[in-house]
Amino acid sequence: MFELIGVAPQALFGQLLLGLINGAFYAMLSLGLAVIFGLLNIINFTHGAQYMMGAFGSWLLLNYLGTPFWGALLIAPLIVAAVGMAIERVLLSRLYHLDHLYGLLLTYGVALVIEGLFRRFYGASGMPYANPIPGGANLGFMFLPYYRAFVVVASLAVCILVWLAIERSKLGSYLRAAIEKPDLVQAFGINVPRMITLTYGFGVGLAALAGVLAAPIYQVSPIMGSHLINVVFAVVVIGGLGSVAGSVVTGFGLGVVEGLTKVFYPEASSTVVFLVMAVVLTIRPGGLFGATR
C-alpha cells in the first residue's frame, strides 16, 4: 500500500507523529481562545502576543533570575495571566455591551503594541533558549526527542483537565450559567465581573503556558505568535467557536493533516489548514463541534 502512494512507511509514521506534536500546540492555544470566546464573547486577537509573552517570560526568568524551565512553566503563565487580567479590567471590560468586532479590533491593536515593544527591546531575531530535556529515543522509524514527547503528554493532560473543569466541575457550571444568564447568576450572589476577569486570565495563562512549552523548540522572538495565530484561529473556527472539546480535537487533528501534507506536497503545508476551514464552513457553518450562534 505504501509503495502505491510512493512514500516509505517510516516517513509516513514519522510525519504523523510530528503532526501530533504540532497539533499539541494548536490544541493548547485554541483551547485558551475557545474558553475566552465561549465565556466572554471576545475574539482574543492578543492570544498570539500572549503566547509570545509566555516564551519571553521564561527567557527573562532564566536570564535575569536564573529560574530554570520547570519553574518558569509555573511562574511565567501566572505573570502573563496577571497582565492579561489587567488588560481585561482596564480595556476589554468597557466593550462587552458592543459588537464582537470592537473587541477584535482592540485585542488586535493591543497585540501589535505588545509585539512592537518586545521588538524594540529585544530585536527581531529573537533569543536562544536551551532544551531542558536533551536527548531522545530512536523509535526505528524516527528519532523522537524526549522533550517533544513531553510536550504531547503535557498538553494532552492540560486539555483534559480544562475540559473537566469547565464541563464537570461546580465552578465550570457557574461559568456556563453566567454566560447564559449573567443577571440571574449575579442575583444568586456570584460576582460575575470578577469571574469573567479570572476566566480571561485563565485563557491567557493557557496561551502563556503554550509559549513556555514552545521556548525550547521554537526561536523565542517577538513575532513567534503572529505566525501561529492565524492557524490557531482557523482551528477554533473549524472546531466550532467556543467549543472546548472541539478545539482540542481539531487542534490535534489539523496537526496531523498538516503533517501528512508535508509528506506529499510540503509547499502547501501552510495553506492546507485554511482549505479545510473553507470546506468545513461550507458544509457546517457552525464548525465541527459548534452550535450556530
Partner: protein
Amino acid sequence: MSRLGLLLRAGCAALAIASAAPAAEAGPDDPVKIGVLTDMSGPYSDVGGPGSVEAVKMAIEDFGGSTLGKPVVIVSGDHQNKADIGSNIARKWFDVDGVDMVTDLTNSAVALAVQALAKDQKKINLVSSTHTTELTNKACSPYGVHWTFDAYALSAGTAGAVAREGAKKWYFISADYTFGRNLEENAEKILAKYGAQTIGKSRHPLNNSDFSSNLLQAQASGADVIAVANTGNDLSNLMKQAAEFQIGKSQKLVMLSAFVTDIHAMGLDNAKGSVLTEAFYWNRDADSRKWSERFFKKMGKMPTMIQAGSYSATLHYLAAVNAAGSKDADKVMQKMRDTPINDIFWKNGRIREDGVMTHDMLLIQVKSPEQSKEPWDYYDVVGVIPGEQAFQPLSESACPLIKR
C-alpha cells in the same frame, strides 16, 4: 457618513495638501544628501535597519561631516519590506528632497524597484545588502553597485569549500520563494563543478515555525550535507530543531546565508561547527574590532556585514564626491570605479562594469560554546576567498552594460 469614513477623508485631504505643497527644487549647490532605505522594524531590522542608519552616520562623521563645502545630510526611511512603499519613498527623496545616493536596500524586491527608479533618475544606489544577483545581471544599472555580498558569493563560497573537502551527496532545505531558490540554484552550479550532486530537496513556506518534517526527510535521505537556504527566524528555528533531532552528528549542516546576529539569536549550541560565508567579521583584526566596538557602544550589538557595508559604501561615495568636486552621478560613479576600495573592511575592492563590487570573502566556521572567549566571539575565519573567485565571473553575467 460614518465617523471612520469622515476621518479617512480628512486624512486623505490633509495628505493631498501636504504633498501638493511647493517644495524647494533641489539643485547642484545643495548639500550632499544620503538616504538609508531599510527595514526599520520587520524581520531584517536586526541585520540592516537602525544599525545601518547608525553605520552611515558613523561614515559621515569619520569623513569629517562635510563635503563640497557643506555638511552632509542623512535621511532614513522604512520600506516595510514592500516594493511599492520603498519606491514611493525613494521617488519622494529623489524628486522633492534632493537625495543623491541611496544605500542599504535590504529586501530584494525593494532593491530591484529602487535600482530601476534610480537608473531612470540618474541617482546613485549602493546596495549594501540583499541577495539577488538580478541586480547585477539583467537589471544592472550604470549607477547601481551591489556592495557587500550576493547569493552567488555566499553559496559559492560555502558550497565550494565543503564540496572541495569531498562531500558528494547534498540535500537542500530552502525557503519557497525567490531568495531560497536563488541560493539553491547558485549552490548547485558550484556543486556541479566539483562532481557533487543533489539527492533531494524540500521547500518550506516563509515564516514556517516547524521544520522537523523537512529535517526528518533530510536525515532519512542519507545525504552527506544538508544545505539550508533560508534566513531570519526560519533559520534560527531550523537550526534549533536540527540540534534537537541531533542532525549535525552524522551529517554536516551548512547555512548558505547567515549573519552574525542570526548566530547570536540561535545560540552557539545550535550553530557550532557549521560553515558559512560572510563578507565581514567584527573580530577579524584590530581595525575591524575597534570600529565594531564603537558601533556596539551605540547599538548594543555587533555589526553585521550589511551594516559594515553601508558604512564602507558611504565612505567610498563621499570620497568620490570630494575627488570629483561635484555630485553629478556620472562623474561620481567614474571616480568610484577608478578608485580601488581599501578601507578597514575590504582590501582591493573594485567596482565592475556590471555593478558587482568584488572583494575578498571570508569562509567561516562557527565556534563551539567552549571555544568562545567573550560575548559575540562566534567565528573562526578558516579561509579567505579572493574577490576574483568569490563572485560570479563577468563572462557569465547577463548585464547588458558589459562591452563584449
